[in-house]
Amino acid sequence: MHLNNGTDPHAIGTKLPAPEARYDMVVVGAGPAGLAAALAGAGEGKSVLLVDENPIPGAAMGNDVPLLFGGRMTTATQSAVRMLETVFMSEPQLEAAMEAGVEVLLGTSAWGVYRNGPGMTGLPESVVALADKDRGWIVGYNELVLATGARDLAIGFPGWNQPGVMGAAALERLLAHYEAFAGKRILIVGSHDLALETALLARDKGVEVAGLVEVRSAPQGDAALAEAVRAAQIPFFLEDAPAEAIGGIDGVERVRLRSGAEIAVDTIVLAIGLVPSIELIDAMGGKRVLDGARGGYIPGENEGVTCVGDCAGLADTGFDHVEYRMEWARELGALSKPDTIVCQCEEVTRADLLGVQPPRYLERPAPMQARSLDTLIKDGPPNPDQIKRLTRAGMGVCQGRRCRDQVAMMLAMAADGPFGSVPLATHRAPVRPLPLRILADWEESEEMRAGWDVWFGIPTQWVPYRDIDTPREREHQTAIAEGWSL
């Protein structure tokens, strides 16, 4: 019997590399909350690294990562130099942070946080994994501050899967930071603070606002904001909803409301809500809790990690965001058709999602067609990760950003339970789609190379059955084992 004399050369051991650099504090996200944390850290004499993924590469924006850009960015976003300058100029505090000694890296995303814990002891220390346009690397930290903000909540309706349907956070990014919004006339979906603020921002930036559509009977947000919107002559379409976005090759041209009204716009801005960006916390196996008043799932207590700004939860104004978005999901679901797309990347329709049907490139024999979410629910509460692997909803290049939340809402409705009764589909690193060549460790250690095996490195495992316990067994083992360390 093969023995390794107490060591396994193919186990992880100490093969995972030490970080390239270490900081007292790493801050992810250079919005106001991240900048404040970085400045405070520097003020205490800490070594601080502040990373921010802006400007987002054009290819990522095209995939609606990390926000729902809806293809409405101008060609200006294709110029990396111009974008870097614009982002830098849009945030005066960046310069202050640099002057205070903070190391600032723009165009740098944090795509994973790794730490030892249940199921993992092989890391030399806790690390944050970073990537810019040229390479990926890891850094160590004593203190990690996540200021990753909030992303757009998307809920589909007929025609939403075309250019010109975007999110409020993406619009804010394009208008206020990138100066690169390609639309001219917008319709805003929702009327809570986010929607109202979006309307006022758009108006200030010279974008024509055709109105706000609200499923409930009155504007939902702050009364003074709603008044400011009214004073700007922007109409509310109350107890209404977008029934269909109609367009051409350049995307949206007009929208038909449930009430029958048709409005000519080039962009529909989903401003129903924002979702705190908990990707990194969730992917690292951190705790999260559901808090409807703070925008849904927010980080729980996680040792060594502080969350600030919107990613820690939206400001609690007493408004139940989850109830509000569930009401929208019910309404837009009712207006949807069986062939309305839910997952844009994988082109999963509403009917196929609820029928747990496989993608169109596979056969659907009779037993398959007879299956549905109902038959799965009989076996236990639906789990989005199970639905994902059957329907492929959420499996695409946007990493589920466009459909994760609406799928969770659809499953909760189908299971007749509240939103939290169905778990959220898990986030996994890399939490940004990153090219193989960028992610790759091109400078891996000799120890990693030498210890690499395709599977567990157990030579007896691959000996042909007929040769087990024969003289040929040793020959195969030797030959196979020599091939290890490729």
Binding site: A11, Y114, P358, P365, R371, L439, D441, Y465, R466, L486
Partner: protein
């Protein structure tokens, strides 16, 4: 629907199904563990007329069965020819898609790899399984994503791959269609024995009477069998994979090499794993977590080397699975002497591809007491009789102390 490179089977799968129909009529079988091995066993038993109940601690196929590379080319196994006979018919027999595809290519980007692949090619050809050797240009004509760094490779005229997640669900659904019952979120809490047999299995869903039990609970087999006084030496470890956004479809999706296992899915994604594992403690309730590590970067590098023309593609996920291994890395497929109606199956980390055959073997052990189609005696549990309590330490397979 047979392979060029394999001996022609004596019987069609449909004939086998007709032959076993009714052979286990009235038999109540409880399967502990809804992974691919347990579900396939349950499906074969249900095809034989047994009343099958599957108990799982969580969701079917949630562990290694649904997280692996989907390979189906394990020529070292005595189950291999049966696996190869069955796979091309599984969609039809199950009634659900598995995404099974035939044939594989293994390509080398270093001289050492090429030497190893040549050795494996010869080993296979000696066994009567046809493998063609390829030079770099031949590989590049068959694998559009391969690059100038490719030195050659081999073409298995057998084997293949399937979608693990879809296949596991296909087994589960097919089993239900035959009257089988699947209880998810139902960990087994104990066994009730009487006269040298297990007469009932207790789970959170209640008491399940049985004539026979199949324990197919992956890493949790050890703890479960300990309740019956049977020692099953197993060690669990974490293995990792990554997947890219879709690439243009290659004519043969089952391409790997360069220290990787994996495939191009029918959607086009490149899904690959390999590299160092981490040994873990085992918990009765299952793994507390399945974390990925920065090994993602080493995997990305190797995929980029394997497919230089895909190096620009985005990686969109990484994941990890918890896999159990026996001390020699070979399966245990065995019916116990005491309690004599208990059959254990662990495939020691190589279970998905062989599942159409492993279920048949388990069906045979449960119903007939012996495997009808191949010799599996070398996979008996008794080969580990008297193994020292420190067998993991001897191999360096112990879980490191948590930091």
């Amino acid at each position: 629907m047979t392979y060029v490179g394999m001996p022609t089977p004596k019987e069609t799968p449909q004939e086998t199904m007709a032959k076993i129909a009714g052979t286990a009529a009235g038999m109540k079988v409880v399967i502990v563990g809804g992974g691919v091995s347990g579900l396939s066993a349950g499906w074969w038993l249900a095809r034989s007329g047994a009343q099958v109940t599957v108990l799982d601690k969580g969701i079917v196929g949630w562990e290694a069965s649904g997280r692996n590379g989907g390979g189906a080319s394990h020529y070292q196994s005595p189950l291999f020819e049966e696996e190869q006979r069955m796979w091309p018919h599984m969609d039809e027999l199950l009634g659900y898609p598995t995404e099974h595809q035939q044939e594989r290519l293994v390509i080398a980007v270093s001289p050492k790899q090429l030497n190893q692949y040549h050795y494996l090619a010869k080993m296979n050809n000696d066994m009567g399984y046809r493998v063609d050797l390829l030079d770099g240009d031949q590989v590049r004509s068959m694998v559009p994503l391969a690059g100038d760094n490719c030195l050659g490779g081999m073409h298995y005229r057998f084997g293949g791959h399937a979608n693990p997640q879809r296949s596991v669900q296909a087994y589960a659904w097919a089993l239900q269609d035959l009257g089988g019952r699947i209880y998810q979120h139902n960990p087994v809490t104990g066994f009730e024995t009487e006269g040298g047999k297990v007469v009932a299995v207790h789970a959170t869903s209640g008491r399940h009477e049985c004539d026979a039990v199949v324990v197919a609970a992956g890493p949790q087999i050890q703890g479960l069998m300990a309740k019956l006084g049977v020692v099953v030496p197993l060690a669990a470890a974490r293995a990792e994979m990554i997947v890219t956004e879709p690439a243009p479809m290659m004519p043969i999706g089952g391409v790997d090499g360069n220290g990787l296992y994996g495939r191009q899915t029918l959607r086009g994604n490149l899904a690959y794993g390999g590299g160092p594992h981490e040994w873990l403690e085992t918990f009765e309730a299952g793994p507390p977590a399945r974390p990925s590590s920065p090994l993602t970067r080493n995997l990305a590098r190797r995929v980029a080397e394997l497919f230089p023309k895909a190096a620009h593609l985005n990686v969109i996920r990484s994941w990890a699975g918890i896999v159990e291994n026996t001390p020699d890395g070979r399966p245990i497929i065995d019916r116990m002497k005491d309690p004599e109606n208990v059959t254990v199956i662990t495939m020691s980390g190589v279970g998905f591809g062989l599942s159409p055959a492993s279920g048949h073997a388990v069906r045979d052990l449960v119903v007939d007491g012996q495997c009808s189609f191949t010799d599996i005696k070398k996979l008996s549990l008794s080969r580990f009789d008297g193994i020292g309590a420190d067998w993991r330490e001897q191999r360096g397979w112990q879980a490191p102390q948590a930091a």
